[in-house]
């Protein structure tokens, strides 16, 4: 239903996206994993037309768009069909929670106030903030702000929702409430692309996982296959490193601290970077 084809993007001389293509089917929850600087956020921003790609095409259901150039009429239409959730929430500071959710409906879609607020209230209740509708962002916790942002992204009932590291700016305690909301959406069959560092979340909620590094997709698989049976050496290393530290023995952790040479065989290959 959403297809990105041959996306290229350079920042100066640095190739950030090098011929990336991605297919997302109805109901998919795609987790994009990868180290910092791998281009995963840029890919998402290009798909949301927040960053212009150097080239590439984007197809959503029946419509095809150029990722470098798009008419403002097409862009408006496209934006109604997708939602975007930011790492830093980006709530409007001068609007209440309800005002944040309804602004797009009222201004961009010229929806009457009552109708927009009806939708806004339903969505805020769904993310568990029925009692915070009249609160300004500064009076909400990070987790609550992110849930408002999710409700806002859902206001137009989009076909696909993009999440750019939705829990990275949150206290560890608050990530749970946000991930729970995203999981609910997944269970309802909402199509989503989630750039994340939350390995456990990717393992449990995503239907598919895309692993990126240096502007390219290294491996792409169902979530189960990806974690249980990774194909590429680099993917194995990434999964291992991101998940095993806590389960290491104290000696192994001390060894890791001491330096790669002192590492026992099991984890030595993880450390040579």
């Amino acid at each position: 239903m959403l297809r990105l084809q041959n996306v290229y993007k350079k920042f100066g001389d640095t190739m950030v996206l090098n011929n990336v293509s991605l297919d997302v089917n109805q109901g998919d929850v795609v987790a994009i994993l990868g180290p910092s600087g791998s281009g995963k956020t840029t890919l998402l921003r290009c798909a949301g037309y927040l960053t212009k790609a150097d080239s590439g095409t984007l197809t959503i259901s029946d419509k095809q768009y150029d990722m470098k150039k798009i008419s403002s009429k097409d862009l408006r239409e496209y934006r109604r069909r997708v939602g975007f959730v930011f790492q830093n929430f980006n709530l409007y500071g001068n609007k209440t929670a309800l005002g944040n959710v309804t602004l797009g409906l009222r201004v961009s879609q010229k929806m009457p106030k009552e109708e927009a607020e009806e939708i806004g209230k339903t969505l805020l209740e769904r993310v568990g903030l029925g009692d915070r509708m009249d609160f300004y962002p500064s009076k909400l916790s990070g987790g609550q702000q992110q849930r408002v942002a999710i409700a806002r992204a859902l206001a137009t009932n989009p076909e696909v929702v993009f999440f750019d590291e939705p829990t990275s700016a949150l206290d560890p305690e608050l990530t749970g409430e946000v991930l729970t909301v995203i999981k609910q959406l997944a269970d309802e069959g909402r199509t989503m692309i989630v750039v994340t560092h939350e390995m456990e979340f990717a393992r449990k909620v995503a239907t598919r996982v895309v692993f990126m590094e240096e502007g390219e997709i290294v491996e792409e698989n169902t979530a189960r296959e990806f974690f249980e049976n990774p194909q590429k050496e680099r993917t194995k290393e990434f999964i291992h490193k991101s998940t095993t530290w806590a389960s290491m023995t104290e000696e192994e952790q001390a060894a890791l601290e001491a330096g790669a040479d002192a590492l026992p065989d099991v984890i030595r290959h993880d450390a040579d970077f």
Binding site: G83, F86, N88, Y92, G93, L103, G104, R152
Partner: protein, 220 residues
């Protein structure tokens, strides 16, 4: 200070205060609202990077900030009539002071707009808003809140600067005081009284600023 002066000062206080209400305050409000509108447009022209306009706007700020207001007043009131453009005292002062507020406050407004996190603009785009809709509904309201204290400074400064219009024959507070004093020779007391009137008006504004800031604080 004898009884005669006291009666005279009580009488002139009423006169000066009324002139303040009829001339100084309207001029301040007219010049400030026009100036603020200019400032907003100038700031947005720079932020939206409108090509030619952006250059013109820099030239405008440069000229207004680098020439004295009294010279500008003389040019508009005494100079322009020689090429056939004639404004009365009030209009001349209004034009010059609007342009001045516009130039000075544009920088304040621009900095305030830039202080609103750029992510909110991106969120507006994702909500389907255009640049201008985002400015009107989200960015500028927050920027004006940030800019409120420095803008209050400017309006208080403007109340006092309206006395410069004395030089282009506007009968405002200072001119009125001077006229009364010219009859009675009580310059000392009348100029003190004129100063008192400005003090009263500016104090009211100061209190209003504090109240308004507290009200704005409750809404965020």
């Amino acid at each position: 200070m004898n009884e005669r002066i006291i009666t005279e000062l009580v009488e002139s206080f009423g006169k000066l205060f009324m002139v303040g209400l009829r001339v100084t305050i309207p001029l301040t409000l007219a010049a400030f609202s026009t100036g603020l509108f200019i400032a907003l447009m100038v700031a947005l022209a720079q932020i939206a990077r409108v090509p030619v306009l952006r250059r013109l706007v820099r030239v405008y700020i440069w000229i207004i900030r680098c020439t004295p207001m009294i010279v500008q007043l003389f040019i508009v009131y005494f100079g322009l009539p020689t090429i056939g453009i004639k404004f009365n005292s009030f209009t001349s002062a209004w034009i010059v002071m609007s342009l001045s507020i516009g130039a000075y406050c544009s920088e304040t407004v621009r900095a305030a707009i830039e202080s609103v996190p750029v992510g909110q603009l991106e969120a507006c785009y994702c909500d389907g808003l255009t640049f201008w809709q985002a400015m009107v509904h989200v960015i500028v309201p927050q920027a004006l809140r940030t800019a409120f204290p420095p803008l209050s400074n400017s309006i208080i400064g403007l109340v006092k600067d309206t006395s410069l219009a004395y030089s282009v024959a506007l009968v405002e507070i200072l001119a009125t005081a001077q006229r009364i004093a010219a009859r009675t020779y009580d310059y000392f007391w009348l100029y003190l009284e004129a100063g008192l009137i400005y003090l009263i008006f500016c104090s009211i504004l100061t209190v209003a600023q504090r109240k308004a800031e507290a009200a704005l604080e409750r809404r965020r």
